[in-house]
Symmetry: D2
Subunit: 136 residues, 4 copies
């Protein structure tokens, strides 16, 4: 099975990812990208994409990038997000990659872009440190 097919199956297992409408749009060894289309339910008090959804996209894309290298037995231990600009757009794309895989932990990084008719703009970035779970 391709990386993309694997991630689509995993993505479909998560109820919140389905509610958000997260699509897996790219997957390669150590890399993944996901996207959502804007909906009014996603807004914070000024109508920008809520920081919690910024985190959702960054954490999810980082987890998927790690999954392409380590498999799905991973949990986020720590993640950190920088809100660089107001997250306003018709569509949001998170592009993540593995910085350093390891036996017990995986370091990843991610950029989040807001897209509209004028192109795409970097609105947030972040990093996730994932713990590799022991075999069941």
């Amino acid at each position: 099975m391709s990386y993309l097919e694997t991630l689509k199956i995993i993505n479909n297992l998560a109820a919140f990812n389905r509610w958000c409408g997260i699509e897996v749009i790219l997957a390669d060894h150590g890399e993944a990208a996901i996207a959502i289309d804007w909906r009014d339910e996603f807004g914070q008090y000024s109508g920008y994409l809520h920081a919690g959804l910024v985190a959702t996209l960054i954490d999810t894309a980082c987890g998927y990038a790690a999954t392409t290298v380590i498999g799905p037995r991973l949990l986020a231990a720590n993640f950190s997000v920088n809100c660089l600009r107001p997250a306003i757009g018709q569509r949001f794309v998170a592009r993540a990659r593995v910085v350093k895989p390891g036996k017990s932990q995986v370091f990843t990084t991610c950029d989040l872009f807001a897209c509209d008719a004028d192109g795409e703009k970097l609105v947030a970035n972040g990093q996730t440190l994932l713990t590799v779970l022991a075999a069941p």
Copy 2:
């Protein structure tokens, strides 16, 4: 108006907070607590509370704690979340406080508890650095 009334009004302005069903349950000078009741839509792939919603609760509670000191003209610049234990519960409560307010930025911290019939358990913690926006 009391801190609690003010935060309830602000909370009601954010579409995503309404979708999550976030309740403001405590507000004092430099402190705020919010809660949500578990719904199946909140799950990640193992059925725990999605890390993006862990971040939503931590970021929101931190923002509300800061609002009690500085007012609502704030945006999160950076937040960091530690996932200490699987976030499983019937209800989740985030308790935040201001560590250091300032003219241009506010440092806050937050603990997230999962609650069920057995009591409450710390499942995540985090911090948010908020930027104070200039008057419009």
Copy 3:
């Protein structure tokens, strides 16, 4: 051997800790505190304690708190530091505690105080996520 004696031995093994003059001043299960006396060599460009030394104290105190619970086979995976106020003082004390110990990782937190004739003031805080190393 007491926690304090153990940490003093470990502290003495690190050349940079010796150069800084780090003293272990408190150790209990899940807790540790260390201190340094100000020297002019520690300054950044304005003469405050250099952020790298703020990090040194926070990372070291967190590692020692974790060591009281897990033993010394630990390495910092990620640490994050907030510089709350200019770090000016005659002496600096870092007080750390374990938030959540685990088999493969330990979450810790730390406050850094600057001390002078007027008392002590919180100047920075931070957190360290440590990885437990496998037995050799």
Copy 4:
């Protein structure tokens, strides 16, 4: 004055940077690189570069990258460091760049490389969020 000359002057103002022997080796608009040569005084308990010095290099390089865009009136508000591999080498080089400059804050990122006869290896990365100070 060139960016490189400016940063060398600033670097020489900081007592701790002088003790470390930090050299500014590259400066361009939004970018800076610094280096140190290994000395035994830099070691943690296993003889690797101490995490506090890893932080020193990352924080300093990030500050210098920001200075090329904003000038020197900056203080680190938050920095976060990932220790990817044991930091062992004859020389360490930190390469930083500005991710997003702003009026009140600057977001930066940095990679730290350990260098020896075999070439250079990424051993840590990190990010610094700097606050722009008001004019005196």
